[in-house]
Amino acid sequence: MSTELALLAIFLLSIFVGFEVVSKVSTTLHTPLMSGANAIHGVILVGAIIVADHSKTTLELTLSTIAIVLATINMVGGFVVTDRMLQMFKGKPKAKKQSDEAGGKN
């Protein structure tokens, strides 16, 4: 398979996985899920680092440095804020949660 085709295959399969994993989610989790997904696209940081590494001119380096800062804010801030949202859920029906989990495994 050529590189192009392999990339296309990865793209298409990822679409289906993305559709599948979130198809059943309660409204309660819409916001944390959106925020978590938002943090995940912060890995554009990797892209920003790669282009900074390749940079030859000052313009390229300046733009890619800005990109690194923005992407880091997106990624790190995103995961921290999602965790804070989810923290609010914990400690709630703890006993119930565990029994649910045990029930699910049977």
Partner: protein
């Protein structure tokens, strides 16, 4: 490290992201899911340093590390210190800067590739620049709206429809120009026009629909990350970006469904809506306002009370006080439940998060579909800082901005108590007829202070 090892570890990061989204879809595993996502992102970032230039380190490494450190110093405190009420706009802002980063990455790679770029790469670059810029400027506008730094109402410019059409055509045309000419200036012009389009695109969206737009822009940013992954031939970026794009699209649809609107209606509703009829009736009309004692008496002799929380509860940070009140009522043998509208507050699930913080028992939080049939048997509904989600105009006034949105049928209950700061209409800016209803009592003031007074009045009875 060989390219194969690098790609394999990248795949591992991709798997982490799938598990993260999977985990975030269920309350039991949500927190772990988020941490797995963070782990994946960390792995992906660290291996770039190890892989680059055969392990001799990146060019400009100190600068890169400094930029990352700076980003952490800005992002972490913002995420830590933000109040619950302001989380939606922070998510919007984070999403916007991510989109901006993707657009910049595409521009820099385009400058570097120069004439060596394939047509497919240029197309992917143009896509990333357009969508990344739209996501950036659009998210900034949603941030300003939610932070109330600008009006939360739909902004309808003169010739707005034509302006949007014109700007979208010019964005596409300059995009085509870039592909045809492979020039640098066309790309920059394209980027600027895309920024402008992003602003015009979000301005007419009404306040209550803003969360849907944030989710949509989030999905957009995911796709730009996938496209820049294609340009950089980085499979991890393609997986991560596509996952976010696909799941974000589904999530946007789910949110729109929860509000009972089509996605199309949300985005273009402002153009089709006529100047809403109901806002004109803002003259002074008699309302029945009560004292905390009146409210306490109403509650004390009820058999079933439903509390409907809204954004006002979040603003006043009254979640603990409302729980105290609910516990007090329950100790008097009164049946208490919370009626949770899916989009109460500024984000779907906002109220669940807030009440969970105050350790409100999960069983008391009842979703809209389940609580609605119980309102006719409910003696008192206590509406704490909510407005649009209980506004009967959503059923009775065709053409008003929230028409068609499912609401909590509190008008079916015996008595309705509104805790409100003022007579100001809600986020969507629509007058609420229920406030003038004979069975409605209003208690003006900050939600927390009002609730505290009601609690002490109730204790004194």
């Amino acid at each position: 490290m060989s390219r194969n090892v690098y790609d394999l570890i990248g795949l591992l990061a991709g798997i982490c992201f799938i598990l993260a989204l999977k985990g975030l879809s269920s309350p039991k595993s949500a927190r772990r899911g988020n941490l797995i996502g963070a782990l994946g992102a960390t792995i992906a970032t660290v291996i770039v340093f190890l892989y680059a230039n055969d392990g001799k380190g990146l060019n400009h490494q100190p600068l890169i590390l400094g930029a990352i450190a700076f980003g952490v110093l800005v992002g972490v405190p913002a995420a830590r210190k933000v109040q619950m009420t302001q989380m939606p706009q922070l998510v919007a802002l984070f999403n916007g800067v991510g989109g901006g980063a993707a657009a910049l990455v595409a521009i820099v790679e385009y400058l570097k590739l120069g004439d060596g770029a394939t047509v497919a790469q240029v197309v992917a670059t143009v896509f990333t620049v357009i969508v990344g810029c739209v996501s950036f400027s659009g998210s900034i506008v949603t941030f300003l709206k939610l932070q109330e730094l600008m009006t939360t109402r739909p902004v309808i410019l003169p010739f707005g429809r034509q302006l949007i059409a014109l700007s979208s055509i010019s964005v596409l045309a300059t995009g085509g120009w870039v592909i045809a000419s492979s020039g640098t200036s066309p790309l920059l012009i394209n980027a600027l026009l895309s920024l402008l389009f992003g602003i015009l695109f979000v301005l007419p969206v009404g306040g209550a629909d803003v969360p849907i737009v944030i989710s949509l822009l989030n999905a957009f940013t995911g796709l730009t990350v996938a496209a820049s992954g294609y340009v950089l031939e980085n499979t991890m970026l393609i997986i991560a970006g596509t996952l976010v794009g696909a799941s974000g699209t589904i999530l946007t649809r789910l949110m729109a469904q929860a509000m009972g609107r089509s996605l199309f209606g949300t985005l273009f509703g402002a153009f089709t809506a006529k100047a809403s009829a109901s806002t004109g009736a803002a003259e002074v009309r008699p309302v029945k306002s009560g004292s905390p004692d009146d409210v306490a008496i109403l509650l004390n002799y009820a058999q079933r009370v439903v509390i409907v929380p809204g954004f006002g509860l979040a603003v006043a940070q009254a979640q603990h006080t409302v729980r105290e009140l609910a516990d007090l009522l329950a100790s008097k043998g009164i049946d208490v439940a919370y009626g949770i509208h899916p989009v109460a507050g500024r984000m779907p699930g906002h109220m669940n998060v807030l009440l969970a913080e105050a350790n409100v028992p999960y069983e008391q939080l009842v979703e809209m579909e389940e609580i609605n049939p119980t309102f006719p048997q409910t003696d008192v509904v206590l509406v704490v800082g909510a407005n649009d989600v209980v506004n009967p105009a959503a059923k009775t006034t065709p053409g008003c901005p929230i028409y068609g949105m499912p609401i909590l049928d509190v008008d079916k209950a015996g008595n309705v108590i509104f805790l409100k700061r003022s007579m100001r209409p809600g986020f969507a800016g629509i007058e609420n007829e229920l406030l003038y209803d004979a069975k409605t009592t209003l208690l003006f003031g900050d939600a927390k202070e009002s609730l505290t007074k009601v609690v002490s009045a109730l204790k004194a009875l």
